[in-house]
Symmetry: D2
Subunit: 140 residues, 4 copies
């Protein structure tokens, strides 16, 4: 029996397409980084989102909030620390801290709420094994 | 003397690159639509963000929040209604409602806070004419 | 009976997310503009790519070539003139000229080859009505 | 004295935002992967494109050609093998092979031509050290 994963750490490197003419990363790119971090968080907890989706599970973002603290720049490595704030059988809330690898400058904080849908895009239950691996209690 | 602009309306059409394999618009694209709506809001208020930037004014997003209500789909026309929630000499808060043109389905609501920076990326004052056109009082 | 459409014209306005830190449009964005222009070309020829896809027709890009002539910039309006270079029952070649609306500066030329696939992602025939509307001969 | 780098290998993992509603990677994303591969190629040859740009060197894509062979899919790892086809003092041509890490399926081949510009966006010479590291002869 595994301990639930407390915090995952994922690193991305900023590519040129992510910059804008202000000379920093465009603020919409952070949304993609959060997505990458969620996928890696699930992987580190023992699940492939690709496989979950093949089984008919869809995790859909319903709420997104980002506070930008400092710019990220071209070629920077950005570390995304991801935790589960809350999980129940139908809803998962992830929170994130983004910081530069070089000196730990806080780039942003963020939170996303996801609902579990089935193939027919109707509200559904997360598989119990996923809830447990993420640190939740399946009966909730 | 113009009345300040109350609400701007901007329409975008969903292109194929904006969809994802769930068959709907990827949730990160809404961030770009908000940006487009802000630019058009300023234009309708009589200002070009391009010109403002050339004069050394930068409006930088510090907070972003989106609540997703319904999926947007390929080739849909999406109407973005944009208002100023608050404006003072250094900070502007825009709020947005996104809905389909076809039947008015609410796609999302959002809010963004922007700070005014100068060329040197330091906190700065918005030009008085911009504050007035957006419905704020320059002395604030 | 309609004349086949010779050339379509589509206009896009550059948004901030499309720029990069060189202060111009990132060269990958032109690919999306070509896609938008194809969709509008089909629409002007009387077809909705969304409907075609719903009927099981998929047009998949197999070859892409772009020659970049001049930078496009934030807030520029870019006109995309699109023509069919060749069409037969399984393959369509579009060619494009991109230019600024302001003064007609040539931004790029491009060509894309698309194959027609069915729902099962196998090589398939374009519907005859589409071939005719695009200026091809169905028996080819 | 180093041998010039013959071939660099860079790996990217497909994230959700890169897929489209056909269930595969959108064909415009490959352009970004080529860009990432070029940056890594330069790094493996001993140069940081970030530093070169800080010194006033800009490498601008003037020609892009991609042949798509097979779809890339969500969560796939894609290997990009990158070589210099030609280099002289003002122009660099990179060629690329993209393949899945899992079983080596050929995803695409591509070629990009880049010109060297200076800070003022005028045609310029690549630094000799870069030309040599890439396998070219500076006097050319």
């Amino acid at each position: 029996m595994h301990e639930p994963l407390i915090e995952s750490v994922t690193t991305v490197r900023v590519n040129y397409s992510e910059t804008d003419q202000m000379g920093v990363v465009y603020h919409g790119r952070h949304v993609v980084w959060l997505d990458i971090a969620r996928t890696e968080h699930l992987r580190q907890a023992g699940f492939s989102y690709r496989d979950l989706e093949a089984e008919g599970v869809r995790l859909v973002v319903t709420d997104l909030a980002i506070r930008y603290r400092a710019p990220a720049r071209y070629d920077d490595e950005i570390r995304i620390r991801c935790r589960l704030s809350d999980v129940n059988s139908r809803r998962v809330i992830f929170s994130y801290v983004l910081e530069t690898v070089m000196d730990g400058t806080r780039v942003a904080e963020a939170e996303t709420t996801l609902l579990c849908l089935n193939r027919g895009h109707r509200l559904s239950r997360l598989p119990d094994a996923v809830i447990r691996a993420l640190g939740g209690a399946p009966q909730s």
